[in-house]
C-alpha cells in the first residue's frame, strides 16, 4: 500500500497520534466513498488526490461548528456528522433514500448536521452563505466557527471577494480553505489566475493568508486547527490555500485530454494517502497490518452502503413535493444546529 514519497513538511508534527490516524482514516473513507459514487454515476465529481485538503479541513471540529464543503468531495463532512453512508450514495444516484429525496444533485443532509448544503450549480454563493453562518455565531456571541472550502477557480468569483471583505470587516469566526486542485474544469490555474499563490489575496482583505501543501494532510490540518482557534478566539477569519491536484476528471467520465499524462503521473506519486501512511508507519504509530485493517473496515462500510443504495428505488415522482416549496408559516423554523446524530468514528 505505502509508497515512498517526498519528505514531509514537518508541519503538524505536534499533532496527537490519534489525530494523525483519524486524519488518515478520514482520507481513506473520502477516497473510497467518492470513488464508489464515481463508479456508479459518471457525472459525479472525482475528489481523488484532494483528500488531504478535505480531511485536513473538516476533521476535528466541534459538534456545534458549521461546515461548508466544496462540491468536490463533500461527503466526508457528512460522514463526520453521522450521515448514513447508504443515504449519501443514494443521494449521488438520485435514489429515494437520498437525504434530498431526489431533489438536489447531492450535497444535503438533516439540519442537525450543521452543514451548508449545495443546492445550485453556481460557484461562490456558498462562501457568502457560510460567512453568514459565522455572522450568526458572532451575533449570538458564541465561540462557534465555520469552515468553508472552495476551489481555486471559485476565488475568481466576486462572491469570494465580497465575502472575505465582509468577514474581515466584521471579524467573523470563519476559516476559508481553498481546495486548490489546479483546474477549473479544463482550464489550468495558470490560464485564469494572474498570481502564483491565491493566499496573497488575503492581504487585500486584511486577514492572514497562508499556503500549505494540500497533499500533506497533517500540514493542512495543523494550519486549519490554528485558524479555527484564532476564529474561536474572536480574532477573525483566515484564508488557507491548500495546494493539491485533481487526479481525476472534472466529472467521472471526463476523458480529460487537456492534461499531460506525465504531469498526472508525477502527482499520483504525491498521493496524500500513501504519504500519510508512510509517515505513520515510519513513526511507529501504525503497522502495515493496522493500515490494511483500516482499509478493510472502510471498504466494508462503503460496500455495504453501495449495496443498500443500489437496491433502493429511484426517487419517486409522487415525492416531488410541489407543495413543499415554502416552509409552513405555522411551524417553527428549522435551523442548522450542528449536532451529531451517530457520528462516523474516525
Amino acid at each position: 500500500m505505502s509508497r515512498p514519497n517526498g519528505p514531509g513538511t514537518g508541519e503538524g508534527a505536534d499533532l496527537d497520534p490519534s489525530v494523525r490516524i483519524g486524519l488518515l482514516k478520514a482520507m481513506m473513507l473520502s477516497r473510497t466513498l467518492e470513488r464508489a459514487c464515481c463508479e456508479l454515476n459518471p457525472r459525479w465529481f472525482p475528489a481523488e488526490g484532494e483528500e488531504g485538503v478535505i480531511a485536513g479541513a473538516f476533521f476535528g471540529l466541534r459538534d456545534d461548528d458549521t461546515m461548508a464543503p466544496h462540491y468536490r468531495g463533500p461527503f466526508l463532512a457528512y460522514a463526520i456528522r453521522g450521515a448514513d453512508l447508504s443515504r449519501l450514495v443514494g443521494q449521488a444516484l438520485g435514489k429515494a433514500n437520498g437525504y434530498a429525496r431526489g431533489r438536489a444533485l447531492g450535497f444535503t443532509g438533516p439540519a442537525a448536521m450543521g452543514i451548508v448544503p449545495w443546492v445550485a450549480g453556481d460557484l461562490g454563493t456558498t462562501i457568502g452563505v457560510a460567512t453568514g453562518c459565522a455572522l450568526g455565531f458572532s451575533y449570538e456571541g458564541s465561540d462557534r466557527v465555520t469552515v468553508c472550502s472552495f476551489g481555486d477557480g471559485t476565488t475568481n468569483r466576486g462572491d469570494f471577494h465580497e465575502a472575505l471583505n465582509l468577514a474581515s470587516v466584521w471579524k467573523l469566526p470563519i476559516v476559508y480553505v481553498c481546495q486548490h486542485n489546479q483546474y477549473s474544469i479544463s482550464l489550468h490555474a495558470s490560464e485564469v489566475l494572474p498570481i502564483e499563490q491565491i493566499s496573497i489575496r488575503a492581504s487585500g482583505y486584511g486577514m492572514p493568508g497562508l499556503t500549505v501543501d494540500g497533499n500533506d494532510v497533517f500540514a493542512v490540518h495543523s494550519a486549519v486547527r490554528d485558524a479555527v482557534a484564532r476564529a474561536r478566539n474572536g480574532d477573525g477569519p483566515t484564508l488557507i490555500e491548500a495546494r493539491s491536484y485533481r487526479l481525476g476528471g472534472h466529472w467521472a467520465s471526463d476523458p480529460g485530454g487537456y492534461r499531460l499524462p506525465e504531469v498526472q503521473d508525477a502527482w499520483r506519486d504525491k498521493d496524500p494517502i500513501p504519504r500519510a501512511v508512510s509517515e505513520l508507519v515510519t513513526t511507529g504509530d501504525l503497522t502495515q497490518h493496522d493500515v490494511d485493517s483500516m482499509w478493510d473496515e472502510v471498504r466494508q462500510a462503503v460496500d455495504a452502503a453501495v449495496t443498500v443504495a443500489k437496491a433502493c428505488p429511484d426517487a419517486r415522482v409522487e415525492d416531488i413535493g410541489a407543495n413543499e416549496v415554502f416552509a409552513d408559516v405555522s411551524e417553527g423554523m428549522s435551523a442548522l444546529r450542528g449536532e451529531r446524530s451517530e457520528p462516523w468514528r474516525a
Binding site: 458549521t66 437525504y99 434530498a100 429525496r101 431533489r103 438536489a104 444535503t108 443532509g109 438533516p110 439540519a111 451548508v116 448544503p117 443546492v119 445550485a120 453556481d122 461562490g124 454563493t125 456558498t126 462562501i127 457568502g128 452563505v129 457560510a130 460567512t131 453568514g132 453562518c133 459565522a134 455572522l135 450568526g136 455565531f137 451575533y139 449570538e140 465555520t146 466576486g158 462572491d159 465580497e162 465575502a163 471583505n165 465582509l166 470587516v169 466584521w170 413535493g321 413543499e324 416549496v325 415554502f326 416552509a327 409552513d328 408559516v329 411551524e331 417553527g332 423554523m333 428549522s334 435551523a335 442548522l336 444546529r337
Partner: protein, 324 residues
Amino acid sequence: MARLSFAEALVEGMRHELRTDERVFLMGQDIGKMGGVMGGSRGLIEEFGPRRIRETPISESAMVGAAIGSAMVGKRPIVEISFGEFLPTCMSQIVLQAANLHYMTAGAIDVSIVVRTRIGDGPYRGHPQCYESWFAHVPGLKVVMPSTPTDARNLMIAAIRDPNPVIFFEHMWLYHGVREEVDNSPTAASLGKAAIRRVGRHVTVVATGWMVHKALEAAETLAVEGIDVEVVDLVSLAPLDIDTIASSVRRTSRIVVAHEAWKVGGIGAEITAAITEACFFDLEAPPVRVGAPHHPLPMAKPLRDAFVPDVNDLLRAIRQAMAT
C-alpha cells in the same frame, strides 16, 4: 394609533420585531447615522445600536449571502438593498440559494430572511428600476409590495416572522407621500392576500404600489361619468392571490392591470393570463394592461414623465375596457 407616513410605518414594523425578537437584525448601507436612504431606517440605530443595525460594505451579494447563512443558524435578518436597481448584483444569492434551499433540502432548512428595497420613480431621478416580476417568476420566494402605511407596518412584521425568503418592495413615491392612522396593535397581516381598496360594479383594476393610488384617483374621475371602478391592491406578487382577483372579475366582467414596471413580461401579463384561463367566459372585454414602454427609463423630466404610467394612462385603459 399614530398618524404615520409610509416610511415611518415601515420603521415601526421593524422596530416592533427588533424589540420583541432578539434574533432579528438589520443590515444595509447608510442605515445607521444617516437613518437609511429617504429615512427608511430612521431612529433604529439610536435604539438598537450597531450590533443589530449593521452598516455594510457595498457588497450586496455578500449581504444577502450573510443573511441566508445567519438565518440557517437561527437568526431572522433583514437586508436593506438601498435601491431596486442593485438587485441584479445579488441575484444569484436570492434566486439560487434563498429560493432553493428549503425545497432542495427536502425541508431540512428554512431561510427566514427579508430583502427590502426601494423601487419606483423616486425623488433622485435615479435608481428606479421595477424588477419585481423577476422574483415572482422564481418558485420559493415571497414577493410583497404594500401601498399603504398600515400594510407597510403589518406586512413588514409578517415578512420578518415568515420562515421563507421575502422580497419586500417599497415604492419611493409612497415614502413621504401617503400618511394615515396606523394601529399599533401587534397583529400581523398574512402574506399572499390581495386587498379590495374600492368596491365597484363595472370594471376591476388590479394595481401595485403607487399605481393603486393612481387607480383610486382614476376611479373618482370615472365615477362622475357613471363608470363604477373596483380597485384591487395586489399587495402580494407571490404567492399571487388569483382567487380574490377572479371573484372580482366574475362580478365586473372586465379587468385592467396596472404597474410601473415594463408591460412586457410584467406581473400584469401573468395576471391577465391567469384571469383569462380562469374567467374567460365571464369576460365581456379583452383584458387591458398598463405598464411602462419597453425601453430603459430616461433621466430628463419630460422624458421620464412620458415613460412612467400615470392617471391618464389608467383612464385611457379603463375606458378601453368599458368600450367593448
